[in-house]
Structures are given as C-alpha cells and as structure tokens.
Symmetry: C2
Amino acid sequence: MTESAPVKRRGRGRRPFAEVHAEVLEAAGNVLMDEGLSGFTVEKVVIASGVSSATVYKYWPSRGALALDGYLHVAGDSLARRDTGNVEADLKYMLTAFVKTVTRKPFGPVFAQLVGTAQTDTELAAQFDRYFGPRRSNFFAILEAAKTRGQLRRDTDVGVLVDTVWGACLMRLLLPHLTSGLTPQFVGEVVDQALTGVLVEPAPTQIYD
Amino acid sequence: MTESAPVKRRGRGRRPFAEVHAEVLEAAGNVLMDEGLSGFTVEKVVIASGVSSATVYKYWPSRGALALDGYLHVAGDSLARRDTGNVEADLKYMLTAFVKTVTRKPFGPVFAQLVGTAQTDTELAAQFDRYFGPRRSNFFAILEAAKTRGQLRRDTDVGVLVDTVWGACLMRLLLPHLTSGLTPQFVGEVVDQALTGVLVEPAPTQIYD
C-alpha cells in the first residue's frame, strides 16, 4: 500500500519485534492485494519481507492467519464507531463503510475469500473473532446507547439486530449472484426495514414503568 | 443416505442417463458425508459410482459443482414452501428448517464449506444460484402473499426482507465463534424483530386508498 519493492534484509542482525512485525504485515498485505488469497503463500511473504520463515511461522501459525492479519493491515478499520445520537444515520454510515470496503477491489474479493477459507481452515477460523469481535462491539455500543436514549425498545436484543443488518450484507457479498445488489441503497433499505419493521399493524408500544 | 456399498458397474454397456445421473449423485453425496468437502474428489465419486470419469466430467465441469449436486441430493429440500396464512409462523418454520439442516452433522459443515469454497471456485460459484434461487423464490412467494393479504406494508421490499432474515442465519453459520448462537430461538427472535421493528415510536402507518 505504501512503498513498493521491499528489500531483503537478512543478515542485518536482531531488529525490534515491532519493526519485524510491521514489515511482515506490510508484505502480507501486498502479496494479498497483488495475487488474491489463491496466490497467497507464506513463502512469498518471507521473500517480500526479508524476515526469516522461522520467525514468520512462529507468530503466524497458518497461512490463513497470516493472510487475515495482512488484510487487516492494508484494509484498515472499515467499521469505526460513529455515534452522533441518530441511530438510523449511524447504522447506515457504519454498514455502508463496511460495504464499500468489501465491494472495492482488491480488498473485497479477498475479504470474501477469507470468510470462505475459514470454513475449511480451522486455524484461520479460530482467528476470525479478531476481525468481527471489535466491529460487532462497535455496533453493540451505538445500539445500547440508542436504547439508553429511549430510541430503541428496551427489550431489543442488540445481538440479533447487529447480525440481522450485517448478515444481510454478508449474504449478498458471499452469494455470487446477489453481490451486484450489495449497494449503499441496499444498506439503507436494510436499516430502515430493521428499525421500523414491515407489519401493517405495528405491535402495541410496550409501556415501561 | 440410502443403500450402502455402491458396486462398480463398468462394462455393463450403455444405461439410461437418469440412472447414471442418480448413481453419480448418490455416490457424490456419500463421499461428501463421509469425508467432508476437504476429502471430496471427483475420482472418489467415479470409483464409488462405477460411472466413467469421462461421463462424470462431461456433466459436472468442476469438483465444486459435483459436490454441490451431491449435497442437494442427500440433504433434500430443506426450504419447502409453507403458507398457512400466518406469515410469522411460516417464516419461522421455513428458516428453522434451514437452520436445523445446516447445523446438523454431517450436512451442516459441508454446506458452510460449499459456500466458503464458492469464494475461490468460480465454477462452483456459478452454480450456486441453483441452490439459493428456488429457495429464495419460496420466501418471496409467501411474503408477497402476505402483502396481498394486507399483513405486510405494501412498500415492503421482500428481497430485502428475505436477505435480512436469512442473512442473519448465514452470518452465524459462517462466523465460527457465532455458530453456537444459531438456534431455533435465534430464528424466532430474528423474525419477530424483522416484522415488528425495534423503534419505540413506530413509523406512522401508511394510508392507502
């Protein structure tokens, strides 16, 4: 993403871990972007970073784990929390940021490939909560705040709500014939529908003490 | 799923296509159930079915496409349409049937593996609409009927609604740390929330002519 043509640095002696770590992630991200997950190998990252394969394997136990970290390094935090007090606008903003990232090449296909590969790569699967965990927490936070402000019903299960609006986007991303329908407009419709419901007769508003 | 120990039948001469087709699917389903997608090969299906590899490759252009058909053959139609007139109950029934199938071993892991592999296997991806297309149509049909009966608002985008409630289930299935939360109870909460919404102040009911 930044400077190109990383140089081999073998034989320069022991360097700080943070520096080595960053070089491996930069190299992993670049290999991913250039070749996709199918062309991604630990060996290519070793060559591009100049870090020994022993060191790379020590900290990244599997190809999938290294690829996930490389993705996170180059794709950035696409689900930063925003809480302006308008839960509808904030939900749309955060989900649209996710959708824009995962539908933009080269990140988008790589993200879908990572989710896909996690279905058969148990080491990658075990790492996946590092991606989704903090991002789900951001959603939880703004929805709980909206409950506290009295905008959402107190009995709202925010975990169900998050997985519903986010799951709609994941479904369109992962089912190839639906991906063209994964648009910011779709995000808006998903959020509107999830917030207001679809029944003609709204359930009676619950009365609280 | 049915009789075991398929017998090689090479050399018996030309047989009806339907018979050959069924034997290949039966063998493909059995190999999938026994070994999962990671152990699934076209060669194993050729051996188990006794059908020539030339014939198998003629009708199934990729390993993924053969695996998908084998899955459909053994897993059965888990999303049969039900329309009793109670859209809430019917949605829950159909989604729960899906969830039960995809969380039951050995089908469940294979289904997730198929969706995952479709992210890197373009031939499998191209076939995937054969699974999701008819099943989404079943959902569309009961939701459109509910609109016609006046149960759902006329401006409801049923495509958004289907992908929302189904996507919630797919998200929990495909994200390993969430899969334990993919339960019939979750399905109930997803459907309730999608139908009624979560806002304290319901949007004004739209007035129609």
